[in-house]
């Protein structure tokens, strides 16, 4: 799901003021992005304590190196999410999977050994409402789950997700498409159930 275009000028003005030492500007930026960063860290790490550490470290990085944020390359939200993702993946010991397109063909179902049955996402989302979706997402291969978390659950644009993952936008689209197809496949029994309920 791509985010709608937004006027970045007010936020860039806050960033400029923050660089000049304006504490109020920093607080405004922090409050605007803290929850999204925390949720993302939580989805990758599965631990509230780790997510809190990751959120703190991501913002400390922002405080220490505000000049590293390049507005021409994306939004501050995407930049912070990218930092949080890398920190959280490192903290959670995520393994990097193959990114070779040939290895990610549409009909490639994740091998049983690659399915993580108690993923961070599963541990985070314990509510009843989305139980089966959670299980379906948990069954996705990590590189599919990665773009699904960024694009569908953190609502970054394709371009931002591509920037965060270090892959091109076409790869984001194809991985997201496959992730959605896999999810839909897993949810098919519920579709049948819903149809029966209607008739």
């Amino acid at each position: 799901m791509a985010m709608p275009p937004e006027d970045l000028q007010p936020e860039l003005e806050l960033v400029r003021r923050m660089k000049d030492g304006d504490e109020t500007a920093f607080v405004l930026l922090y409050r605007r992005h803290r929850d999204a960063v925390f949720r993302l860290a939580l989805m990758y790490s599965g631990s509230h304590a780790t997510a809190a550490d990751v959120t703190q470290d991501a913002f400390i990085h922002f405080i220490s190196h505000p000049a590293k944020y390049d507005a021409t390359r994306g939004t501050l939200a995407a930049w912070l999410c990218g930092i949080a993702r890398n920190l959280a993946r490192k903290a959670a010991g995520w393994r990097e999977d193959a990114t070779d397109p040939d290895a990610l063909a549409d009909d490639t179902a994740p091998h049983e050994s690659r399915i993580e049955h108690d993923t961070p996402l599963e541990r985070v989302l314990r509510g009843e409402a989305a139980e089966h979706v959670r299980r379906a997402i948990a069954s996705l291969a990590p590189h599919y789950r990665d773009v699904l978390i960024l694009c569908e659950l953190s609502e970054l644009s394709y371009a931002e997700a591509a920037q965060v993952c270090g892959i091109d936008i076409g790869t984001v689209r194809s991985r997201l498409s496959r992730a959605r197809a896999r999810l839909a496949q897993c949810l098919a029994p519920y579709r049948e159930g819903a149809r029966e309920a209607v008739t």
């Binding site: 030492g21 922090y30 803290r34 929850d35 960063v37 400390i60 989305a130 089966h132 839909a184 519920y190």
Partner: protein
């Protein structure tokens, strides 16, 4: 219900569940403390040009020596002709009016005081005493100073 519709519906449920999760409040105070220690202090942008101007003024004064015809020199004791010239603390026309009542007094003061007169002072030596001769007017107003070390 289509496959995509169901998927979007379920993802919406997940997003709603996630939306209730908030970052811990305690993080903010720690980050603020961190920000305060990292935030740049207001810059004293005028200090370097001022120090440069003062240095140039002092250097040119020393190189040029006493201004010819300057009455101040005649006020100084004859025995210290080889000493550095006086540095005016007041306008020269004001000083020239003190031909009769002015007096020279040997003194010693902290080097930091030179900064008040716009002279460069090394922070490491700010506490050191400096010997000087002060030219005072008849009513005790400091008119000029000569640094002896």
């Amino acid at each position: 219900m289509t496959q995509d519709t169901l998927l979007d519906l379920k993802l919406d449920e997940l997003r709603n569940e996630l939306a209730t999760i908030r970052a811990p409040e305690a993080l903010e105070s720690g980050l603020l403390s961190r920000f305060r220690t990292r935030a740049p202090r207001p810059r004293l942008w005028w200090m370097p040009p001022l120090a440069l101007a003062a240095t140039i003024a002092l250097a040119s004064w020393i190189v040029r020596g006493p201004v010819p015809g300057n009455d101040i020199v005649s006020l100084a004791p004859a025995t210290i002709d080889s000493d550095p010239p006086f540095l005016a603390l007041r306008p020269l026309d004001r000083i020239s009016k003190e031909k009769n009542g002015a007096r020279v007094v040997a003194t010693e003061f902290p080097r930091a005081l030179l900064a008040d007169w716009g002279l460069p002072v090394s922070p490491e030596r700010a506490e050191e005493p400096v010997r000087a001769e002060m030219l005072y007017s008849a009513n005790g107003e400091p008119l000029a100073v000569r640094l002896l070390n």
